[in-house]
Symmetry: T
Subunit: 156 residues, 12 copies
C-alpha cells in the first residue's frame, strides 16, 4: 500500500530519506544528551551552562520534528524510537552522575562537532535530489554551528 | 565528594531516588513513543490524533524535567540517556512504519496503562520517606490518567 | 460494556466516584448561585461585590470541570444536568429579585461554609482509596476557604 | 422600592423582561447540557466533539451573562437559579452516562434547534418595545445558528 | 466642493447627521464629566467609584470616535470642539471642587439618564433613513444603559 | 438530501441566500482587487496607500468568511470559486501593471461605491425575511462606508 | 473641611495649583482639537495625518490625567469641565467643517506652540515650590516639543 | 518609464517573472478553493477538515503575498485579479454545493499535487537566474508538501 | 579595596548615600506594613482596601530596588536587612491582629505622610551633590503622594 | 469578636497557625536576605548570581503571601512586621557591605538549609490537623529544595 | 591559539570570512545612514518616510548581528567598529543637516542599490565554499531588494 | 530657511545642541563597541558577558534615538554618520579579534567611565538653558551608571 505519494522519484526518495533518518536520530540524541548534562552539571558556571543547555534542547527538539515531518512528506517513515536512537546515533554517550561545568562544555563541543560533520555531508548528498530538504538541513546546520561556536568560546 | 546535601536521610534518599529514576525513564520513553506515532499515524482521524499526541509529548517532557530535577534536589543523579531509556523503560516499543489511527490509540492506551500502574506504586513507596516527591508524582499521575481516559473514550 | 478501565479497584472506584459526583453538583450550584447574586446585588458595595462574585464563578466553573473529568478518568460518569443539580446540591437556594450587598455577602459565607464542610469530608473519604483525587479536592478546598475568609472579612 | 428606573415604559418592560428571562434559562441550560456531554461523550470523534462542545459552553455562558445584565438594565430581576433552570428550560434533558459521539451531535442539533425557534420568536416580540434588546438577541441567534449548522454538517 | 459622496440621499443625510452630531456632543461631555468626578470624588467608596468612572470614560471616548467617523462617512462634518460641547450638550454640568461619592453616583445616574433619553429618540429617528447608523446608536445605548443600571444599583 | 435544516422557511431562505451569495462574491473580489493594487501601486503616497489597502483586504476577507458561513447556516451553499467571482462580481476590474497612487485611490472609491450600493439593497431585501442576516450585512456596510469616506478624503 | 493634607505649604500650594490647572485645561483642549481635525482632515496626506493626530490625542489624554491627579495630590481640586475648557484654554479654536491636510498641520503647529510656551513658564514657576510637579511638567513638555518638531518637519 | 530597476539582467528577469506569476495564480486559487470547501464540507470529519483547511488558506495567502511582492522587487508587475486567476490557474475547479469530507480530502490532495509539480519546475527554472527567488519558492514548496502528506495520511 | 569607583566625589557620595539608605529602609518597611494590613484588614471595604494595598506593595518594592541599586552605583553598599529595617525605619509600626478598614486607611495615611516628609528632605539634600539621585527620589515621591491623596480621599 | 470562623477545630487551628506564622517569618526574611545579597554581591559570577537571587525573591514573596492568606483563612492573624521578622526568623543574618559571589552562594545554601529543615517539620505537624495547609507547605518546600540544589551545584 | 575550530577548511574559511566581513560593514553603515535621515528628513512625506526608515534600521541591525555571529561561527573575528565602518563601507555618505523627503528616498535607493550589488556577488562567492553562509546572505538580500522596490515605487 | 522653530532662544539652542550632539556620538559608539565585544568575547564567562552586552546595546540605541530626536526638536540637526562617530567619539576603540572575558569587562568599565564623565558635564551645562534636555540626560546617565557598577562588580 502506498500511503503517501512522494514528490521525489525513487532513487532520490531513498537517498534523501536516509539523510533525514540520520539527522533525526542525531538530533533526538543531542536533545537527550543536553538534558542529561542540564540535570547533572556542577561547578561555578552551573546556572549559565544549565540555561544554555535548554536552548540546545529546544532547538534540537524543534529541528527533529521538522526533519521527521519532512521524511513523512517524501513518503519515508521516520524512526525516532529509543532503541533506534541508542543504536544508530552518531554522538558519543556520556558517563552517569555529576559532571563538572568545564567538562560539560567539552562534551557539548564534541557532540555538536559530530552532528555538524554528518549534517554537512547530508547537505551535499541532498543538493541534487531534493533542494527542499537541503534547505531545511542548511537552516538546522546554521543553528548547530552557532551553538558550536558559543561552547568553544567559553571553553578557552 | 558530596556535591548536594540531601534533605532526606539515607534509606529514604535511596527509595525515593529509585522511584524518581524509574519515573524519569518511563516519561522520556512516553514522549519518544508519542512523537514516533505522531509522525507515522495514518487514517481518517490523522489530524485529531496527530494533535492529541503532541499534548502528551508536551506533558511528558515537562514531567520528565520536573522529575529529574527533583532527583538532583535530593542528591540522586538522574539518568535520561538514550541507552538507559532503551534498556529500562516500562513501556513496550512499537513497530516501525505507518500505523493506522485506531491502532495508535490502542498503543497509547497500553503505554499510559503501563506508566500509570508503575506511577501508582511509586506514590505508595514515596509517601512516608518523602511527601514532597509523592506530591509531584500525584500531579503527574493525574495528567496521565486524564490522557488514559481520553484515548480510551475515542477507542470505543 | 466497559468504556474506560478504571485505575482504581471496585470499592475504591465507588467511594471516590460518589465524592466526585457530590463535589461536582455543589460546585455547579455554587457557580449558578454566585451568578444569580452577581446580577441581582444592590447597595453601596455593588461594584466590589459584583466583581468579587465573578471570581467565585470562574473558580467554581474551573473546579467543576476538573472534578467531572477526574470522574471520567476513574470510569465514573459525571452528572451535571440542571435537574440533578437542583435536586442534590448541598447549598441552600436564594430568593428571587434584588438582594442587598450585605445580604449577598452573608449568602456567600453560608454557601461556601456548606461546600467546605462537605469537601473536608470528601478529603477524608478519598485519602486511602485515591490520593490523586484527594489532591485535587485539597486544592479546590484551599480556594473555597480563601473566598470564605474574604467574604467573612468584609462582613464585619 | 424602585431600585432601577427602566428606560422602557411598563408594558414594554414586561414583554421584554419575559423574553430575556426565557433566553437566560435556555442559555444556562444549553451550557449545562453541553458540559454534560463534553464529559460523557465516547467514540472515535471524541476529541473533536469534546473540544467543539466547549466552544458552545463559552458562547452560551457569555450570552447568558449579557442577557441577564440586560434584564437588570431594564429593571427586570433575572432568575438563573438551578431550580428555575430545571423547571422552565425549553431544552430536553439527556440521559445519564456515556453517550456515543454521533448521538451527542444529534442531541446538540435538537437542543440548538429548540433554542433557535424560541430566540426567533423573541426577536419578533422585542422589535417594537426595545430594539436594543432585540439587537442583543439577534447577535446571540447568529452564533446559535452557526453552531446549529456545524453540528448538522458533521451529522451527515 | 463635495468632498465625500454620501451613501444617503439628501433629507436622510440631514436627519441622520443631526442625530450623530447630537450624540457626539453628549458623549464627549459625558467623558469630560466622568473624568471631572473621577478626579474630585471623595468618601469611603472613593477607589471603587474612581475606577468605575474610568470605564465610563473609555466607553464614551470610543463611542464618540465611532459616532464622529460615522458622520464623516455620510458626509456630515462632525463638530466636537470644546465650545460646541459646552454650548450644546444635553448633560447638566457639575459644581467645582470635591464631591462626595454618593453624590457622584447620583450625578452619573442623572447624566446617563439624559444621554439615554436622547439616544433612544435618535434610534427612532434614524431607523428609516439609515439602519447602519441606527445599529451603531443601538450598540452605544446598550452600554449606556448598562452603566445606568450599575450606578443605580449602588445608589440604593 | 437535506444536509442542513434552515431556520428560515423557503421563500425567505431563497431571498436571503441570493443576498448572501451576491455579498460573498463582491467581498472576495474586493479583497483580490485591493491586493492587486497593494502590489502595483506607485507614487509618493506608495507606503501609505500600500498599508491602507491591506486593512481593506483584512476586513473584506473576514467579512466574506462571515457571509459565507451565514449562507451555510441558513442551508444555502456559498460559491466563492475563482470562476464565479470573475463572472458575477459587481466590481469593475483594473488594468494590469503599475498604477499611480492617486489612480489607486479612485479605483478603490469606485469599487467601494459599487459594493455599498448593492449592500444597501441587500439590507432592504433581508430586513423582513431574516433580521439576523440583515444585522450582519449592516455591520459589514458600516466598515465599507468607513473605508469609502477615507479614500474619498484623501482624494481631494 | 480639609479633605487632603497638602505636602506643600500654602503659598507653594497655590502657585503650583495654578500651574497645574492651566496645564490641565490646555491639554484637554489639545486632545479635543486634535480629535476635531482627526475627523475633518482631507487631502492626499489624509491617512498619515489622521493617524498622527491620534498619537497626539493619546499623549494629551494621558498627560491631562497625570496633571489632574497631581493637582488632587497637592490638595487642589482640578477643573476639567467643558465650560472651563472652552473659557480658559490657551489654544485657538478651529473653524467647523473639512480642513485640508496642510492646514491641519499648521493648526497643530500653532496649538502646540501655544501649549509649549505656557508649559515652559510653568516649569519655571514650579521649580522652587515643588520639584515633583516640575518634573511631571518637564516630561510632558518633552513630548509636546517632539510633536511640535514633527508637524513642522512635514510642513516644509 | 522604468519604475523599478531590477536587480536581474533582462533574460533572467523574464524567466523569473514568469515563474513568480505562475506561482501567484496557483496560490491565490489554492486559497479560494480551500475556502470554498471549508464552507461546503459535510460529514463526520467536518470540524477537523474545516479547521485544517483554514491553515491551508492562511499559508497560501501569506505565500501569495510574498511571491507577488518578490515579483515587484524584480520589476515584474504581478497579476492576481479574479479573471486572471480563473483563466490561468493550474488547479482544477470543484463543483458547487455540499461536498463530503472524504471527497474534500481527495480534492485537496489533487490540488496540492498540481501546485507542487509546477512549483518544483519553478525551483529548477529559477536556480541559476535568481537564487533569491528560488529560496522563496523552496520554502513555499516545503509547506505545500507538508499539507500534501497530511491530507494523504488521512485519506487512507 | 575599592570595589566600585563612584561617579561622585567623596562628600557628595556620603550625603547622597545617607539619603538613599534612609529611603531604602522606609520603602522596605512601607512594603512590609502594607502587606501586614493587606492580610489583616476587615470591614465592609475589605476587598477594595485589600487590592489597593497590593498596589502600594508593588510600588514600594520596585522603588526600594531602584534606590538600593542606585546606592551600589555610587559605591555605597545598601543595607536592607530585617534588623536594620526594624531599627531605623521612619514609619510607626502597627499592632498585631485584625484591623478595621477605616483604621487601615488612617494607618496608611500616617505611614505615607512620614515617608513623604523624609523624601522631600532627601530631594533637597541631593539636589546639588547628585541630580541623578534626586531625579529618582522625585519620581518615587510623586507615587507616594498619589497614594497619600487616594487614602485621604477615601478617609472622609 | 470572632471575625472569621475557622474550618478547623481549636487545637488544630492553633497547631496549624503556629506552623504558618513560622513559615511566614522565614519566607519574608529569606526574601529580604536574598535582596540584600542581590545588591551587594561582587565577583566574576556577579551577573549570574544577581539574577538567580531575584528568582528566590520572587518565589519567597509569592510563598509568603500564600502562607499569610492561608493563616487568615483558618482565622489566625498573620504577623509579618519588620520587628517580628527581625526577632523570630530562623535564618542567620549576613554582615553589611560587599560580599564575594562564592560567599553569597554559601550564605544562600545555609539560609535555604535552615528554611527547609523547619518546613519539613511543619509538613509533619500539619499532616493530621490540616491536609490543606500541608499541601501548601509541600509545594513551597519543593521550590526551596530546588533552589537549595542549584546553589550547592554551583558551589563545587 | 585556535579559539574556535571552523567547520570550513582553510581556503573556504578565508573566502567566506571576507564575504561576511564585507556584508557586516555594509549593513552597519546602512543602519547608521537610515537613522541619520530618519532624524533629518523634512517635507510633506516626513511621517511616512520617518517610519519606513526605522523598518530598514531594524532589519539591518538584525542582519548585521546574524552576519557577525556567522563569522564567529566559522572562526573569523568580525570587525564592526566605527572606524572600520567609516573606512570600508560600500555605501556613499550623506551631507549633514535637514534633507527633503524626496531626496531621502533617492539616497535610500542608491544605498540599497550599492548593498544589493555587493550582496549578490557574495551570494556567488559563497555558494561552493559554504552553502550555510550563502543561505543567510540570500535571506538578507531578499529583504534589501524588497526595501529597494518600495523606495523606488514611491520615487515615481 | 528655518525648518523648525526652536523653543529655545539662540545662545541656549547652541549650548544645548552641542551637548546633545556630543551625547549622540558617544552613545552610538558605545552601542558599536558593545556589539564588537559581544561578538568577539571568549572565556568561561562568555555567555553571561555576551548577554549583558546586548542589554548595553539596547539601552544605548534607545538613548541615542531619544537624544537625536531631542536635537531635532530644538532645531539642531543631529549627526550620527559613521565618519562623524569615528572622528568625534569620546570612547577609546578596541583592538580587532577575540577578547578575553575579563578584558571585555575592563573595556566596558573604561568606556562607560568616559561616557559618564562627559554626560555629567552635559547635565551641568544644560541645567539653565533647557531643563527638558537636562532631564533626558539625567535619565540616560542613571542607566549608564547602573551598567558601570555592574561591570565593576564582576571585575573584582
Amino acid at each position: 500500500m502506498t500511503v503517501v505519494k512522494s514528490p521525489l522519484a525513487e532513487p532520490a526518495r531513498k537517498t534523501v530519506g536516509e539523510a533525514l533518518q540520520g539527522a533525526l536520530v542525531d538530533l533526538i540524541d543531542l536533545s537527550l544528551l543536553a538534558k542529561q548534562v542540564h540535570w547533572n552539571v556542577i561547578g561555578p558556571r552551573f546556572r549559565s551552562v544549565h540555561l544554555q543547555l535548554d536552548e540546545v534542547v529546544d532547538s534540537a527538539r524543534l529541528a527533529s520534528d521538522t526533519v521527521a515531518e519532512r521524511a513523512s512528506a517524501i513518503s519515508v517513515t521516520p524512526d525516532g524510537r529509543a532503541g533506534t536512537v541508542a543504536k544508530t546515533s552518531g554522538i558519543d554517550t556520556v558517563t552517569d552522575g555529576w559532571v563538572k561545568d568545564a567538562e560539560v562544555v567539552e562534551i557539548m563541543v564534541a557532540a555538536l562537532d559530530a552532528c555538524i560533520t554528518r549534517m554537512r555531508e547530508r547537505i551535499q548528498t541532498t543538493a541534487d535530489p531534493d533542494p527542499v530538504t537541503q534547505d531545511i538541513l542548511i537552516g538546522i546546520t546554521a543553528d548547530l554551528e552557532k551553538f558550536h561556536w558559543m561552547f568553544q568560546a567559553e571553553n578557552v
